[in-house]
Symmetry: C2
Subunit: 115 residues, 2 copies
DNA sequence: TCCTTAATTCAAAGGTTATTGAACTATTGA
DNA sequence: TCAATAGTTCAATAACCTTTGAATTAAGGA
């Protein structure tokens, strides 16, 4: 089974920026970046919100072309679409990830502990 | 007379991204980037919207820390806060500007004409 | 002083977004 | 088959965003 994703050239800058402009979604992207290569599933983000709410935010990220989600059994393997984003908007993802390195802790008011 | 601006360290990534995630505001930023150094005033953006609407979007950009506005007589001199943004989120503004080079024409459905 | 220009403020309308809990689907394993 | 697990969908709500026109402020020039 496969979920709808925009093609690389359908990814729009305004949409990417507004979808990234949310603390929960920046938290998800920060997690994904930290574990780049290892796909994550919805449940691994549960400290960022309820299951229902994560489903909503993960759909936004996928529809904007920021993440890719593949269905595997009862879970989805979620990865960053780094190649497509880098091709489309060079440098953007790197600068966002660098600026979001304190997420998801930062937006919950918890101090980051890693240097 | 001076308008309220956040200090550099008050500029938040989520806010910057969500404020930039709007076609009118990307258009304003693209104009400012193209004429970097030369301050612009509100009326120079009139092809992006009505005066009232621009006032609203320019206030959003200023409150997010993306632009600086200085009152000079009856106009405001609007500039990009490039140094503050580069210090806070290195590379972000450059990649956004590069991706927005077809704005403000793109979002009105007009093809860009410059190579 | 009077008029014009530049821009903001206000209130209203309409649209979009985020969050919730309950109900649902689909897959896996016992 | 039955129950547990992983996620989605739905409807409702509250909050927020965008756009508009009319009214307002404030400065500059005749």
């Amino acid at each position: 089974m496969l979920l709808p994703h925009p093609t690389a050239d359908q990814i729009s800058l305004a949409t990417v920026l507004s979808v990234l402009g949310d603390p929960t979604r920046l938290g998800i992207v920060a997690y994904l970046a930290r574990r780049e290569g290892m796909p994550m599933n919805c449940s691994q983000f549960l400290d960022l919100g309820s299951k229902t709410n994560l489903s909503y935010h993960l759909a936004k990220l996928r529809e904007a072309g920021i993440t890719h989600a593949e269905v595997l059994g009862t879970s989805r393997l979620i990865t960053l679409r780094r190649d497509d984003l880098d091709a489309r908007f060079p440098g953007l993802l790197d600068s966002v990830i660098a600026g979001a390195k304190d997420f998801p802790l930062a937006f919950k008011g918890i101090e980051a502990m890693d240097a």
